[in-house]
């Protein structure tokens, strides 16, 4: 029987209250969002907090909205809500395509945007989506709010820029008129972590790529992105040859490890092929195909 070690539990009444509870308990405290990463870690004793600060009552952290030129997803928004969001689908198909293959429908009812980002699993799909779209996270502490680019958010596996006493409150993505986007994932079985996933957005204007972003997960891409491949594509027409070369560059920037999900050379092959498929569909969508 797997049960977490003894722990105290308190429900935060506001973001400020959550921050003061975190400050009071230091590294012994952990924020509890949907619990679908933290509770398994606690069962395995990979995490052993003394007190859980449950954020479920903080409705200000939940929801999806447009704010100025940004799409904003509150930290407590569930995967199911992201999957079903018409606002997100209207601007970026990548959200729906990625969420359809994140875990399973029942898990998606509990797991959250903020929880997934802060768990910072090196195979997290939303990290690839966030890196592809060049999103930002808003982190709040007693000293106020700060904004961190998702491409600068991860310190390493399971480590982020969120410090003790801080809380990730929302994730923001710039709206790009005319952008097409797509997500491709290969998994061993339905609902599993990816062997490799790749996501992309492309803006094609006047026959050339004027803007693009590529995100990859589970294959050791630094900060889940492939800037060299993006730079190659900018200013070029989205021909099959150009997309293929960008995909090759993206795979070259990956450094996967062999493990039970597959050998490194297979993962590198997937990185190239899935990037190509994502770029192809994103470019076609941008051109209204």
């Amino acid at each position: 029987m797997q049960t977490p070690a003894p722990v105290d539990y308190v429900r935060a009444t506001s973001v400020e209250n959550a921050i003061s509870l975190l400050e009071q308990h230091g590294e012994d405290a952990r924020l509890l969002a949907g619990g679908h990463s933290l509770l398994p870690m606690m069962k395995l004793r990979l995490a052993r907090p003394e007190i859980l600060v449950d954020l479920q009552g903080l409705s200000e952290l939940r929801g999806i909205k447009v704010d100025g030129g940004d799409l904003v997803i509150g930290a407590m928004t569930t995967h199911a809500e992201i999957l079903d969001s018409p606002i997100l689908s209207e601007h970026y198909a990548i959200f729906r395509e990625a969420e359809k293959v994140i875990a399973d429908p029942v898990v998606r009812n509990k797991g959250t945007m903020g929880g997934s980002m802060c768990q910072a699993d090196p195979s997290e799909d939303l990290s690839a989506v966030g890196a592809a779209l060049k999103g930002t996270v808003v982190i709040q502490g007693s000293g106020g709010k700060r904004t961190v680019e998702i491409r600068n958010f991860h310190e390493g596996p399971y480590e982020t820029k969120v410090k003790d006493g801080e809380i990730l409150t929302e994730v923001r993505f710039p709206i790009r008129p005319g952008a097409g986007s797509a997500y491709e994932k290969v998994e061993r079985r339905v609902g599993d972590w990816p062997v490799c996933s790749a996501g992309a957005y492309v803006v094609v204007s006047g026959g050339t790529v004027t803007d693009c972003g590529i995100g990859l997960t589970a294959v050791g891409a630094s900060h889940f992105c492939a800037p060299d491949a993006e730079a190659y594509l900018i200013g070029k027409p989205p021909t099959e040859a150009n997309l293929a070369e960008a995909a090759r560059l993206a795979a070259e920037s990956c450094d996967p490890t062999s493990d039970q999900r597959g050998p490194a050379d297979y993962k590198k092959h997937l990185a190239q092929e899935l990037t190509l498929r994502a770029l192809r569909r994103a470019a076609a969508a941008s051109q209204g195909a």
């Binding site: 977490p4 722990v7 399973d104 609902g191």
Partner: protein, 159 residues
């Protein structure tokens, strides 16, 4: 800590350790053994029940998180002594062999039909994709849920 969870319409109040998982609260504290306790890792879905009307894997939720919320278990599917059409479908279509996954499958099946009264086979398979059955090969589970979609209020079971 004291926790009050309304299970199938009845408030259940118990003193529990904060680390108590919802599946154990339901089975051991509330004494409702219809919800099964399987893999403990949110993979198998045997422990699926509803919290505030949505299916959740109750091995990966603390009872404390459900404090003040509404839980519905497989015991709550029947209404006034009448089995839910999904339950009847499992009987009609031989939707189970060992029965271990069945309560979770029925909770997800009912939820699917409440949101999508006429799902395709593919939509049913997607809805139950987080739940593992080692006996049926899923075919009869899909048929059982389709039977319930086709017979939303039937009273006839030829079991």
């Amino acid at each position: 800590m004291q926790v009050t969870i309304t299970i199938n319409g009845e408030p259940v109040t118990r003193d529990v350790e904060p680390r108590t998982l919802l599946v154990h609260f339901v089975r051991d504290d509330a004494g409702l053994r219809g919800t099964h306790w399987g893999c403990d890792t949110s993979n198998c879905g045997a422990c699926t029940l509803w919290v505030d009307g949505s299916p959740v894997k109750s091995c990966t939720m603390l009872a404390a998180q459900a404090d003040g919320h509404e839980v519905t278990t497989v015991e709550g599917l029947e209404q006034g002594g009448e089995l839910d059409p999904v339950q009847k479908g499992f009987i009609e279509c031989h939707g189970l062999q060992c029965g271990f996954c069945t309560p979770g499958m029925m909770m997800t099946g009912r939820w699917l039909l409440d949101n999508n009264p006429h799902p395709s086979d593919g939509e049913i398979r997607e809805a139950i994709s987080g739940q593992i059955c080692r006996c049926t090969g899923y075919k009869n589970i899909v048929k059982a849920i389709q039977w319930a979609a086709d017979n939303p209020a039937t009273n006839e079971v030829n079991a």
